[in-house]
């Protein structure tokens, strides 16, 4: 599903955010991308969203080299790659329902589809009772669930999560990751960047560890690791 081939990303100032990364992630996998701050996790995710271009090497999604995707086609890529961030990125003046329906409106989906999909996905994340609430009336965990609903409502084959539990208290974090696990169970590939040790250790998924932009460990059913 996802292939990195000798990917290096150098930012201005000779910063090697990713350094010769080669990696395969299969369909329906759930991967924890771990490593300390600055190890290159966000850069990894940005390359998959084509927000950044690799300095060298290739990134493939479903056998398409992202370098071959024309700029005007990037929106269609983003519809296939859902994304969740630490800061939720919700629109404060829109309700929970509107924040999610927005993602469908924006891609020009007909009203009938929107009216079926949105309540469905909000039920999946357990927020059916808060459709009309505004983001600032919700807890961090609830906001992140809205954000996940929005990312998933398009049924993307891939869901990326960049430190989704970074702003959430530990008990809610578990709920969030369980939600990602359920989404993964529907056939969606999930990659979650995190440096939350307890979470990683609890879920026993594949763990890819980055350090200074290099993969230093790739382990099925792994734990966070002890070297840190």
């Amino acid at each position: 599903m996802i292939k990195f081939r000798r990917v290096t990303k150098v930012y201005q100032g000779n910063i090697y955010a990713l350094d010769d990364v080669t990696l395969d992630i299969g369909k329906q996998e759930f991967v924890f991308l771990v490593g300390p701050t600055g190890s290159g996790k966000s850069t990894f995710i940005k390359l998959l969203l084509k927000e950044e271009e690799p300095t060298s090497g290739q990134v493939y999604i479903a056998d398409t080299n992202l370098a071959d995707i024309k700029k005007w086609k990037i929106p269609y890529l983003r519809r296939k790659v859902g994304c969740v961030f630490q800061d939720f990125k919700l629109l404060p003046q829109k309700t929970v329902y509107e924040n999610v329906s927005y993602a469908l409106e924006v891609t020009g989906k007909p009203r009938r589809i929107i009216e079926t999909y949105v309540p469905e996905v909000l039920k999946l994340v357990g927020l059916s009772h808060k459709l009309d609430a505004y983001p600032d009336e919700l807890s961090g965990g609830e906001q992140q669930r809205v954000s996940i609903a929005r990312a998933f409502v398009n049924r993307p084959p891939i869901l990326l999560a960049d430190e989704p539990t970074g702003n959430i208290d530990p008990s809610m974090s578990v709920t969030i990751v369980k939600l990602l696990e359920r989404i993964n169970a529907t056939g969606t590939t999930v990659i979650m960047a995190t440096h939350d040790q307890d979470i990683v250790n609890m879920f026993k998924k594949r763990v890819v560890e980055l350090r200074n932009g290099r993969i230093i460990r790739d382990q099925a059913r792994g734990v966070y690791g002890h070297g840190s």
Partner: protein, 301 residues
């Protein structure tokens, strides 16, 4: 489609409400440029119409007399004119009458009247033809007569045709046209710039939202549409202002001018419709050009 249109409409109007003052300024300047365009076009059109109308209708020529002719010479000329079959009537205006008429006409300009020494105005005959087509024939016969004064500039007899007035009107309309065009273009450029600024503000105040739209896979055109519509809407309202003022000008001035010119139809309904259409198209052009300018810079493809 229906859902999309409502979406765009909602986005455009709410954004305009947020930048009320700027939007107002952009609409006003767009409106002003289209008002000037509408007014100038209509005046020029009416002026040209008036000129042709006068050309076709006016059957009067004026001949100016030398100051030093005797009464007999004058009377001989008058009877010479009266004997022509093409002539309907002859009116004599003496030097004194000419001066009085001149003073009456310029009674507001006392300064200018004070400058006049003695009576520089010549006596004249106003000769009306049975048909305007005789103007030239009669004039050519009069060119032989000694009693008529000679224009020192051209060396020809001083005989004034209605065309002379017409040409003066035409010179005025073409001057108005040229100056008007320059002013309209200048205002048009300012209008495009102002629309562009309002759209830029709108983009700026929604940059977070735009980021999220890109994130969830909105195409650039989808993101641009509401801004585009906002600009077009501003241009359209400006055009409506231009049309309203043009129509007011029509009913307030042109209709009176038409009444004064024997109810000639100087500006037709068809012309008004065409003018309105052109104003709307130009308004929309100004709006979309302003938006496009802002969008090209701030939402890159």
């Amino acid at each position: 489609m229906a859902v999309n249109f409502m979406y765009f409409l909602k986005e455009s109007t709410s954004s305009m409400r947020r930048n009320m003052a700027l939007t107002f300024a952009a609409i006003m300047v767009t409106g002003l440029s289209l008002i000037i365009l509408g007014a100038v076009s209509m005046l020029v059109h009416a002026g040209n119409g008036l000129a042709t109308h006068v050309k076709q209708r006016v059957d009067e020529i004026r001949v100016f007399l030398k100051d030093d002719i005797t009464v007999e010479e004058r009377q001989s000329l008058e009877s010479f004119i009266r004997r022509m079959p093409e002539v309907r009537s002859v009116t004599y205006i003496s030097k004194e009458e000419a001066l009085n008429e001149f003073k009456k006409m310029y009674k507001d300009q006392a300064e200018m009247l004070k400058e006049i020494e003695g009576n520089p105005l010549p006596a004249e005959f106003k000769i009306r033809m049975k048909d305007p087509k005789f103007n030239r024939t009669v004039a050519s016969r009069l060119a032989e007569r000694e009693e008529i004064s000679v224009d020192p500039n051209t060396g020809r007899k001083e005989i004034k045709f209605p065309e002379d007035v017409v040409n003066k009107v035409l010179r005025w309309t073409s001057a108005i046209q040229r100056i008007g065009l320059v002013v309209v273009i200048a205002f048009g450029v300012v209008a495009v710039a102002l629309v562009s600024i309002t759209i830029r503000m709108a983009i700026y105040s929604r940059r977070k939202e735009i980021g999220i739209m890109k994130l969830v896979g909105a195409t650039n055109w989808f993101i641009r549409w509401p801004f585009m519509m906002e600009g077009v809407f501003e241009g359209f309202i400006g055009a409506v202002l231009g049309i309203i003022v043009s129509l007011l000008l029509y009913s307030g001035l042109i209709t009176r001018l038409e009444a004064a010119a024997d109810n000639a139809n100087l500006v037709s309904g068809g012309y008004l419709a065409l003018l309105s259409l052109v104003l709307v198209l130009i308004g929309i052009f100004i709006g979309s050009a302003g938006s496009a300018l802002a969008l090209r810079r701030y939402i890159e493809v």
